[in-house]
Structures are given as structure tokens and as C-alpha cells.
Amino acid sequence: MAETVFAPWDDPTAEPIIRFRNVTKRFGTFVAIDDLTLDIYPQEFFALLGPSGCGKTTMMRMLAGFENPTEGSIELAGKDIAGVPANKRAVNMMFQSYALFPHLSIWDNIAFGLRRETSDKAAISARVEEMLKLTRLEKLARRKPHQISGGQRQRVALARSLAKAPKLLLLDEPLGALDAKLREATQFELMDIQEKTGTTFVIVTHDQEEAMTVASRIAVMDEGRIMQVATPDRIYEAPASVYVADFIGDVNILAGTVTATGADTYALTWKDGAAPVTAVSEATFTDGQQAHLAVRPEKVAIHTTKPEDVDNLLKGKVLDIAYLGNLSTYHVELPGGQIIKAQTANTRRLSRRSITWEDPVWVGWTKTAGVLLDT
């Protein structure tokens, strides 16, 4: 393995830049953040992902200094920042609404933070020009925020929050207001800028695709708790719970009881009378334990004739076909009414597609394709 892989979270000597320690935040009786502990490392692009109301924005506002934790402590670069007001923190935030000052030009918006810490005009001017160049806004410097497009506004907001060279940059749904094409382009731009500046980014988003694209690690949150923190591929391929598996991407879940059939292989009885499915699991299960098998649709193959040598094979008929252009997802109904989704890449033109509605088909996957989960 190359040693340039960026993974400070696996390095026990690495010092985190942010440390949440048993942080709880309550608004009245509502618990927004529930006993949360989390480390974020320098130069990470960290994503907080979850449905609305899961507490991700509250976490960000606590980092920015707009909220204080009810219990526990938050450390920034080794120092507790509990009592430090927002204007004294080496943390800047890019707001969801961008919050550009409408009465100031783009240039003055970017210079706003710099003017608060120095009166050196030449230094301010140099830094603003640098930021304008970084975000390719040189030509718009004299315009007012209402005279530029949404994508440009987003870049101004980014330039403004980066101008003070913060230790930590917070991005609150930064791309929410952009259309799909622009959002994709901007995601790569963000990663590029993050790499160039070496700033630690924490992004809040409810868009899992966005989190997967930009982040070095993702924290999946639900109801004020962190369900799992891992790299995007681990989150996707090795979710820690049914919730995470279900929240990220599409998944087939088979629930039942397990029996060990080998050192690390298990048979899952998911329906009475049906053949059990086999799965390999690193985690150990006791015989008769309740478990869920999560299999991604793209790992489920669909066949018109019964194939040989497939670990798990189920017969059903095609109920629905979701055609996405590059992919097709087949919803296959098993005799008991359970639906299994199988996804295939459309490497052939649609006219030559061999499977259609009501066709009897076999769906199959290998024993390593799925993840066995206890909750």
C-alpha cells in the first residue's frame, strides 16, 4: 500500500483539530445532540450527513460559536472553545443562504473579515486579489451580490470565508441552491480548493451523493447521534447498521435468524420454507440470532435462465423496471411478496434488452456481496 494515503484517523499519534467530547445540546426538552464524541483531523474534508433535524446543523453552529453545548466540551486545536464567541474563533462559516452583504461589492464582501483584523491596506488588497483568483471572480470584483448568478454568489461566499485563512471552514449545505450540473462541477472545485489551501473543511449536507463525492470521511447522523463515521467506501460497502445501509444508497434487506455454517460463513433463514441465503461476515453471530443481510442492488445479478454456481439464487418475476439511462433497476417480486432490487449497467442499447415486465427471472449474488448486520 502506498504510504501517501491520507488517513490520520488510523494513526494513533495524529492530533485531531476538533474534538467533541460527550457533547449534549438541548433546546428546552428537545435533545438536538445526544452525548456525542467525535474527532476530526487537520486537512480533512469531513461530511456530516443526515436527514433534516438530525442535529448536523446544530453541531456546525456549535463549532462556529453560535451555540454552546449544554454538556461536554468541544476542543479546537487542543483548546476548549466553550466560552469563546464566534468573532474570536479561528473558524469561518459559509452559510447556506451565503449571507453576502447586499450593500457591499464582491471585493468588499471578501475584504470584510480581513478589515476586522488588520488595517494594512496593501495586505488586505493582496489577500482579496488572491481569493478572487482562487475562485475565478476577478472580473466581478466591483459588482454587488444581486448582480451576479447563484453559482458566482456561492464562490464569493467561499472566498469570503476562506479569506481569513481559518483553521477550520464550515460549509452549511453549500451547494443546496445550485442546479444539478453546476453542483457537480462545484463539488470538484470545492475539493480542489480544499486541497490547495490545506484547510480543514466540515460540510453539512443531506445529499449523500455530495458527501460521498467530496468527503474524506462521513459521519452519518440520526436524532442527535452519530450512527457511523467512516470513509465513503466503508460507509457504502460496510455499513455498521441497517439505518446507515438504508440511508446511503439503495439496498435490499433480508431479515431472519442466522446459523453458523463455517468459520465465518452463516446461513440466514429469511423466510420459512425458502432456502436460506449464505453470507460471509467478519462479525460473529451466535446461532439463532436475529440478523439482517444488506445487499446493494448492483451486486445482485439478474438472469433469464437459471445459472449454475451462484451462492444465493432466488426465483421471482419482474414487477417494475426503473430505467435511469446508464442503469436499469429491476424490482423482482419473490413468491412471498418480498421485493429484491437488481441493478445492471445498460451496456447495450435499450432495443436489445432481454428482460421485460412479468418475466420469470432468477436473482443471485455471491456470499461476499452482502453485509450481515445485527441491528
Binding site: A86, M93, F95, S97, A99, F101, F112, R116, R160, K164
Partner: protein, 291 residues
């Protein structure tokens, strides 16, 4: 045709209720005082061309000769200006508090600001006589608390006029500022703080500039009527309070000198045109900024 008819409505309105009366007043200001009904000469009865030939600027020249008039104008400007600043100082914090109040409280607060309009303006100003006089509520209260040893003379001074103007025109200051502050996005203040501003600095650099149009509108709405104010100085002000509204009233009703009174009114209007035009421009710019 229909469009022309629609557009003509406000113009006819202006013509009938502003331009024609103004021309009448202007014509009277060019006439001479006479013991007649109406008390000036010449009139239309002398024939139109004959009447025109007898008009002159004598009254306007008279206004420059007696320093009572220009002193009254200057004093009015001064009182209107000071009252506007005072109203702004009282009104801005109120508007700010209203805009920051919880949502369910805002309609009530707004109602409370408008509530005084439900009572006659004249009665409310008279009420201040009862409050401010030597034996009034304010003095009695202060004596009772023991802050002062003998009653303060407030009534019939310029102080009473300021109190009266601030009280009367406060809603005109609060409402435009409130509407500007209400629209202010709270995340702008947070962004300012995030970028290193203290609360006060964020207020000064973000809140104030963004409520500028409201401040300007409020100031004009107070300044313009305060300049020609008559009721407040005559009821609350003393004999030394010199305001052009009062002078105008005395010329018209006490001296029955309609021509001079009309000349005073014409000059007052000319003085007011400047702030009115500025006010219109501000409104227009605001409307443009919103689109």
C-alpha cells in the same frame, strides 16, 4: 384610450387638489391687502388682464425686510431638524426591538404603535398639556419621588415642543425602519460576527447600512410635517417658540393679512420641495433595489 383615462386619474387629482389651490394661494400672495371680502385686491371682478397687471412681488420683498420671517423659517428648520434626530434616536431602538421580538408578539407591538391614531391628534396634544404643566402629572410624580424640589417648567418651552413632535411623529419613524429591519436576514449578522465583528460592530457595519432606506424614509416623514407644524408649537410652545406655522396662522387669522400669509406659505412650500424631492428619490431607489 382606457390607459389614458386610467393615467389621467391621479393627474386630475393632483391638478384639482394641489396645483389649482397652489395657484390660488400664489395669486393671493401677489395681491395687496384690502378691507373687503375677500380681504385682498385685485380680484377676478376687476377683469382677468386688469387683475394680472396689478399683481406684484411686494409681499415677498416685505418678508425679506422684516427679520421675524426669516428667523421663523430658520427656527422652524432647527426645531424640525432637532426633533427628527430625537425621533430617530427614540424610534430606532423601538423598531429594532420590534423586529427582534418573537413572531407571535409582532402584530401586537405593531398594533400598539398604531393605536394612538385612534384618538384625535388634538386631544392627544392637549393631554400633554396636562402632563407637562407645572401642576401636571410629570411634575407631581417627580416631586413625589423626590427627584426635584420644585416643579420643572417644561410647558410653553421648546422642550415641550420637542416632546410633542417626537410623540406625535414617532410611528412615522418606527414603521419604515421596522419594515427595513424586519426584512433583514439574521444570518447576515451571524456572518459578520463569524468574520470577526463584535455585536456592536456588526450592528454598525451591517444592520445600520441595511436599514438606511428605512431611516431616510422615516426622517423625511417626520421632518416634512414637523417643519410646517402649527398645533404642537401653539399648544405646547411658549411665546418665544418661533415656528413658521404659527406665524402663518397669526398673519392669516389675527392680522387678516391674506397676501402676506400666502407669501409665507409659498416660501414654506418652496423650502419643503427640496426634502420632498429627496424623499421621492430615496423611495424610487429603494423600489429599484428590491427588483
Amino acid at each position: 384610450m382606457r390607459r389614458a383615462a386610467l393615467i389621467s386619474v391621479p393627474y386630475i387629482w393632483l391638478l384639482a387638489l394641489f396645483l389649482i389651490p397652489f395657484l390660488v394661494v400664489f395669486k393671493i400672495s401677489l395681491s395687496d391687502i384690502a378691507l373687503a371680502i375677500p380681504p385682498y385686491t385685485p380680484t377676478m371682478r376687476d377683469g382677468f388682464w386688469n387683475m394680472l397687471s396689478q399683481l406684484d412681488f411686494e409681499n415677498f420683498i416685505f418678508l425679506t425686510e422684516d427679520d421675524l420671517y426669516w428667523k421663523a423659517y430658520v427656527s422652524s428648520l432647527q426645531i424640525a431638524l432637532i426633533s427628527t434626530v430625537l425621533t430617530l434616536m427614540v424610534g430606532y431602538p423601538m423598531a429594532y426591538a420590534m423586529a427582534r421580538a418573537p413572531d407571535q408578539w409582532r402584530p401586537t407591538l405593531l398594533m400598539l404603535v398604531i393605536l394612538p391614531f385612534w384618538t384625535s391628534f388634538l386631544i392627544r396634544v392637549y393631554a400633554w398639556v396636562g402632563i407637562l404643566s407645572n401642576e401636571g402629572f410629570l411634575n407631581q410624580f417627580l416631586l413625589w419621588v423626590g427627584v426635584i424640589g420644585e416643579p420643572l417648567t417644561i410647558l410653553n418651552t421648546n422642550t415641550a415642543v420637542y416632546i410633542g413632535i417626537v410623540y406625535t411623529y414617532l410611528p412615522f419613524m418606527i414603521l419604515p425602519i421596522y419594515s427595513a429591519l424586519d426584512r433583514l436576514d439574521g444570518s447576515l449578522i451571524e456572518a459578520a460576527e463569524d468574520l470577526g465583528c463584535s455585536r456592536l460592530k456588526a450592528f454598525w457595519l451591517v444592520t445600520v447600512p441595511l436599514s438606511k432606506n428605512g431611516i431616510i424614509a422615516g426622517c423625511f416623514l417626520v421632518f416634512i410635517p414637523a417643519l410646517g407644524e402649527f398645533v404642537i408649537p401653539s399648544l405646547l410652545g411658549g411665546s418665544s417658540t418661533l415656528m413658521i406655522g404659527k406665524v402663518l396662522f397669526e398673519e392669516f387669522f389675527s392680522n387678516r393679512d391674506w397676501p402676506v400669509a400666502s407669501a409665507v406659505a409659498v416660501i414654506l412650500l418652496l423650502i419643503l420641495i427640496v426634502p420632498i424631492v429627496l424623499f421621492q428619490r430615496n423611495e424610487q431607489r429603494q423600489a429599484e433595489a428590491e427588483t
